[in-house]
């Protein structure tokens, strides 16, 4: 028995960063908006107060804020010749749920992609030849937009978050202290960069000695108090070292809760419903138009919410799954290369270098989610790839996000994982070590994709999503090259020793790597090569818009949040300025 509710102008499916941004934008334009979030309500004072937020066991290892795989997970395999099996426990990525979702327990690392990152295929083909973008079965594409088109919306997100940082390229002028490789910014960062702790400072000094260009990591952890354009206030970060996997109890990390919700929830045309999971998007019989969504709440009651527009603002994996379950767009087939939904799933290629000192007290527990000094000399196409055999790159960060002892004790090469020798190494090195993070791109490839699993089902009886993924030779080569560049900086710090943690072998679901899943609902310039157009509008069902990193045709060597937030602003702008006047396709396919 399904209850039909009063129609609304727009329904938001999922309420993290993109849901909050779209809610604010569409409500300000006067639309009636209902947001459906499958997880619980969460609020700083109640759910992650400073009295108990610094709880490594509960939040990191017991997954208190994360999606519960007992209720919903996906199946995984490295290639089409294997049987996919369920991800029975979170590991490699830590999926969000609840109001704010991953925007609550992210690190706050705010990056713009490089201008050439939006032209992955055409730029690299022009500079390095056709093989560079097709070898290793790569299926990289251009995005269908340029950096310049996205820049005003990056700026909008910076102002929402109060991003702390130093511009390296202000309207074309290269400024000292910032990232000289970044695309031109129209404005300086809203707040100054965070002061750097010892580890990042040592990294920056060593990198400069090697001729690299170190700069402070741009961050959504506030260097000082900030009031954003919506009138919402944030406080200065206290460097407690519990950002990623944790909620901030101090209103110092940009999140939907700390930047949007106090403003949005006051609007009479906005309603948020929690514990409500959307089962599918309903379409007209000709499948040309969405009529709304069907959802079930935690009491088991089923509803149909009619809506003029359906905004898929859940996580990448959920958005792609809803497209597949609802029959929107043609599913991708890796054998023929035809179809688009699920195509070009990509990830992030991570490695690290641990640095150990005898004579320096690093105090790793003084940290913040994006407290780092970074070099971008080897990211994207900031360096000559001639003869290297790969495209893409990574930023290298001397980063101290915290010193949480279950997760973040580094021991030297050859130390056993337990016993007295391990204990002594932990006691000796905890205060005197830190890690360089190599945050690499992940190029899309023919065999990496998302579809529906033929065997396993969720608690609602729907097929799970199936992820088929492995790192390509392109990404292994990139990661090895970048790890060597990081090791050079590590050695230049004159430590007692270093340890290289290379990205070897096939993708493994167990160790945490990063929650930067991308692709599967990619944007592009034609319905033949993409799921959505440059405004994130479905080519097939034009009153459906799909937000998030699912739109990335491949993943660059940066954290995805600012780019997916900027795309949401760009989409909202097109909806307000064009779509509402004449609902229909914004780009002719």
């Amino acid at each position: 028995m399904t209850t039909t509710l009063k129609p609304v102008d727009a329904v938001l499916v999922g309420f993290g960063w993109t849901g909050a941004i779209m809610g604010q934008q569409l409500c300000d334009a006067g639309l009636s908006v209902v947001a459906l979030e499958r997880g619980p309500w969460r609020d700083t004072a109640t759910d992650f107060a400073t009295g108990f937020a610094q709880d490594e066991l509960r939040y990191m290892w017991r997954h208190h804020l994360f999606q519960n795989v007992a209720d919903d997970t996906l199946t995984i395999r490295n290639n089409v010749n294997q049987d996919a099996l369920p991800m029975r426990r979170l590991g490699s990525f830590l999926l969000g749920t609840g109001v704010g979702s991953g925007g609550v327990h992210w690190n706050g690392q705010i990056w713009r992609f490089l201008p050439t990152d939006f032209l992955t295929k055409s730029h690299n083909q022009q500079r390095y030849g056709k093989k560079a973008v097709s070898d290793n079965d790569l299926t990289v594409q251009d995005w269908g937009i340029t950096y310049d088109q996205l820049e005003p919306f990056y700026d909008q997100f910076d102002k929402l978050c109060g991003t702390s940082g130093k511009a390296g390229n202000l309207r074309g002028e290269i400024l000292p202290g910032g990232n000289p490789f970044e695309g031109p910014r129209s404005y300086e960062y809203p707040t100054p960069p965070m002061p750097q702790t010892y580890g990042p400072t040592l990294f920056g000094k060593a990198a400069a000695e090697l001729g690299r260009h170190p700069f402070p990591h741009p961050t959504g952890n506030m260097s000082e108090a900030y009031t954003n354009p919506l009138g919402v206030q944030m406080g200065a970060c206290t460097y407690c070292g519990f950002c990623e996997k944790f909620g901030c109890g101090n209103y110092s990390k940009a999140s939907p809760q700390t930047t949007v919700l106090p403003y949005l929830l006051r609007k009479s045309n906005f309603t948020l419903k929690t514990e409500c999971e959307v089962l599918r998007v309903e379409l007209t019989p000709d499948k040309k138009r969405a009529t709304g969504v069907t959802y079930v709440n935690s009491a088991g009651e089923e509803f149909f919410q009619p809506a003029e527009m359906v905004i898929l603002s859940a996580y990448v994996l959920q958005n792609v799954r809803l497209l597949l379950l609802s029959g929107i767009g043609k599913p991708y087939d890796p054998k023929t290369g035809e179809g688009v939904v699920g195509k070009n799933y990509a990830y992030q290629t991570m490695s690290s270098v641990n640095v150990f000192f005898d004579d320096k007290i690093i105090n790793p527990f003084i940290g913040a989610g994006a407290l780092a000094t970074v070099i971008d000399d080897f990211n994207g196409d900031n360096f000559d790839h001639g003869g290297l055999g790969f495209i893409g790159g990574a930023y290298i960060a001397g980063m101290v996000t915290g010193g949480r002892p279950i997760e973040m004790i580094y021991t030297p090469e050859g130390t056993p994982a337990w016993g007295l020798e391990w204990k002594h190494a932990a006691a000796k090195n905890y205060l005197r070590s830190f890690s360089l993070s190599i945050h690499g791109s992940c190029m899309s490839a023919r065999g990496n994709y998302l579809d529906l699993d033929p065997t396993y089902r969720d608690i609602h009886g729907r097929p799970m999503l199936r992820m088929t993924f492995d790192f390509t030779q392109n990404d292994h080569k990139m990661s090895n090259y970048l790890t060597d560049r990081a090791a050079e900086v590590a050695k230049a710090m004159n430590p007692r020793e270093i340890k290289l943690n290379r990205r070897t072998g096939s993708w493994n679901v167990t160790p945490y790597q990063t929650t930067h899943n991308t692709g599967g609902a990619i944007m592009g310039d034609s319905p033949k090569n993409s799921v959505v157009n440059k405004y994130l509008q479905s080519w097939d069902v034009p009153n459906v818009f799909s937000m998030g990193a699912g739109a990335f045709p491949q993943n660059a060597g940066y954290n995805p949040t600012a780019t997916l937030a900027a795309l949401a602003y760009l989409s909202a702008d097109a909806i307000k300025s064009q779509y509402l006047k004449a609902p229909g396709p914004l780009v002719r396919g």
Binding site: R38, G39, P40, A45, T46, D47, G51, A53, Q54, D55, E56, L57, R62, H64, Q67, N68, V69, A70, N78, L85, R88, R89, G91, T97, G98, M194, P195, Y239, C240, G241, L265, R266, F270, T271, L272, K273, T274, C276, S298, A299, E301, I361, F365, I366, I406, I409, A417, W418, G419, L420, K423, A426, A427, Y430, T455, Y456, G505, W507, N508, V509
Partner: protein, 257 residues
Amino acid sequence: MGTKVNLDRRNFLIGGVAAGVAGVTVAAIHDGELGAPPQTIRGSVPWKEGTADAPPGATGSGYVYFTTVEAAFIEAAVGRLIPNDPVGPGGVEANVPFFLDRQLAGPFGRGDHYFLGGPWPKGTPEQGYQSRFSPAQLYRAAIVAIDQYVGANLGAAAFSALATADQDKLLKGLESGDVKLDGGVDSKSFFAMLLQNTKEGYFSDPIYGGNKDMGAWKMIGFPGAHYDYKEWVSRHGERVPYPTVGFKGRPGWTEGS
């Protein structure tokens, strides 16, 4: 979720946490994400004074999950994974076995955050945990299987009866997977879980029952649950003189201090 209790923050910080969350520890709470009633939010940010999503600390004493035989294995194994010496506490001295008992008796042990549905074919190493067992079930089955292995191959009554050198050798065999166990137990999976949970008990906040007197934190130099290091950010290379503190405070804290 579903654990929100009335909580005075000051009482909580000073030591009222055990009273505040009594019954939560081993009660059947599902702290997953679909456990709360649906809510419609409009007009303002919902907030209720004095409520907090308080952590579910361990309560009571003695074992509630482990049998005597299981406890003998756990105490012996944890003592080898983290041996005691003057550098810092061993796993047993840090109360890790008690921590493990309370964890296995609660939502973690029940597998509330595991997907345990079938079918259950054996996967590749890259596909991670693929057992039908919840963590509590895995511990139970593994301890039986290990003691059987010891009886059949090493001529002792149980793992706990072996000399420590032989215990270490067997643990290494579990770690590498060279020791094969009966009863559907994957030795590598069990060892990985035991070692991870042991380190969790050793280094987590003492409210969960391990890390007694914050001894493991003191050993490495982690000051605990402080939340403001602003004045130390730019003081490079100096030791931060803050005393180690947990959620319930530290020795020397008194009412009104």
